[in-house]
């Protein structure tokens, strides 16, 4: 009995290793091809670079120059960090307000926010980008306003779910001690919300960092974020420099992997919490 159990476990381990290899293989193939001359990629992507096809860092250098990778990285980082910060700050405040002040209007607001979660982007794509143009929000700062508005639904919903479970007594005590609502919120409520704040931050960061269509419609190719820059490589005539593409894919994956490996615990927790409550 013990013998077969051990054997089974070994078999399972081998199976897992094979699946894991399948999951990593695509990225590995891209990495390998990023060092190959672009003429040897499309037809033979599974062949290792050899003396003839190896081009060193050429692809990286042309790619970085072609799409302005570092400025794209800068824009992506700027937009993601500030949008996420705005979302966490303002939706947690709104959620607290909506949960603590009971009124008909607040219930309507809450349901409108929940409703916005199920509306696909294409529904508001055209009108929203026109509106953003009219209000001059079509730049890396203005887009933060749009992200806050469009991300408000899920984030407020998650915060509300958590705040409902927070006992009122703590807040009342702070209030009795003479704290105004603003002090009460920032010194008492917000610290309690921290776990949910992390979940909200992770979910929104993953969305905004990888978002393509919304920034593309608002910013065009004037301020390229990483997804826009990668898509921009495709060009208008269907001819792609596949070498540069491979290199840029690798460069855009590296920050994600670094972020993932450092915050893995929070990301996994964020996914589970976000899914269960969403």
């Amino acid at each position: 009995m013990e013998e077969t159990r051990k054997q089974n476990e070994k078999l399972l381990a081998v199976l897992l290793v094979i699946i894991a290899a399948l999951f990593i293989a695509p990225v590995f193939v891209i990495l390998m091809n990023s060092f190959k001359s672009q003429f040897y990629i499309v037809d033979t992507p599974f062949v290792f670079p050899t003396g003839e096809t190896f081009v060193g860092l050429t692809n990286y250098l042309t790619g970085i120059e072609k799409i302005g990778f570092f400025s794209a990285f800068g824009y992506s980082l700027f937009i993601t960090v500030f949008s996420v910060a705005a979302i966490v700050l303002f939706t947690s405040m709104l959620a607290w307000y909506l949960t603590r002040v009971k009124s008909k209007l607040n219930r309507v607001i809450y349901y409108l926010l929940v409703f916005s979660m199920i509306v696909p982007f294409q529904m508001v794509m055209f009108t929203m980008s026109k509106m953003a143009n009219m209000l001059h929000l079509d730049n890396p700062v203005g887009i933060i306003v749009v992200y806050l508005g469009f991300g408000a639904g899920l984030s407020t919903f998650l915060f509300c779910g958590f705040i409902k479970a927070v006992p009122l007594e703590v807040e009342e005590a702070a209030y009795m001690d003479g704290c105004g609502p603003i002090r009460t919120f920032f010194s008492v409520v917000f610290p309690i919300l921290k776990p949910t704040a992390i979940t909200v931050a992770i979910l929104n960061a993953m969305w905004i960092w990888n978002d393509y269509l919304l920034p593309y419609l608002l910013l065009g190719t004037k301020y390229k974020t990483i997804p826009i820059a990668v898509q921009y490589l495709k060009g208008g005539y269907g001819s792609i420099d596949w070498g540069a593409m491979m290199a840029m894919i690798i460069l855009s994956i590296i920050p994600i992997i670094v972020f993932y490996l450092t915050c893995q615990k929070y990301i996994i927790k964020g996914i589970v919490d976000g899914a269960v409550k969403g």
Binding site: V29, P45, F46, M93, Y97, S116, F126, L148, Y212, W242
Partner: protein, 280 residues
Amino acid sequence: MQKTLKKYFPVFALPTLICFMIAFLIPFVVGIYLSFTEFTTVTNSTWVGIDNYVKAFSNDEFVNAFWFTTKFAVVSVVTINVFAFAMALLLTRGLKGTNLFRTVFFMPNLIGGIVLAYIWQVIINGVLYYFQATLTLDAKYGFWGLVILMNWQLIGYMMIIYIAGIQNIPPELVEAAKVDGATPWQILKNVTIPMVMPSITICLFLTMTNSFKLFDQNLALTDGAPSKQTAMLALDIYKTFYGRVGWSGVGQAKAVMFFIIVAALAFLQLWLTRRKEQEN
């Protein structure tokens, strides 16, 4: 405290609400209105009634996109959830290196749709090259390409949710079943699956809506080729808006229908979950 807080509406609620109106509420309402008009800009529109809807329905591309999306969603939902659940079972057996495997399986989910699609474009074309074919030669290649890509991206995500669900099952329950002489298959069928039902509904819902709303991956992998046969609903709406002059009204009408489909799926889901909860 409620009374004092109420006065702080401008501080606590207004920033988000203003942005919400700009980015969602007003565009949503105007969008519905515009679907009944012919327009080039938001301010220059003429009422045409349900004309746009009629045009959208008699538009082969839209009908084709609808069926393509539906087929894609069904196949993806089934494959992703079966694989994700199986892998979650494997990773909850307390084997060595479980955490490492979980890390690896989840990784693709963090890569954005555009980048993801280019990765797979190279790989799938590389394989098809041996058969003298390319991704855009036939719609079936594009279809299965999208399915593979979607599996690679979402299996890890769903697996994490399933793992959380399985770990929440009280161990006594499984022990009791074992003592009663249940086979592993019986335990799976009568203990594990009923206990993780909430996770299953969540995952079905997430994969379903994600598949229906897919855009980036579709744009970067096939861009609808050959001849718009692999364009899904979101991409078809985008192309109607920005690829065809004078069809913005039809694009908006398609978008409204798209919204109704997605909303109907969401409500169906909600209704099913509620009914289940009441039964228990």
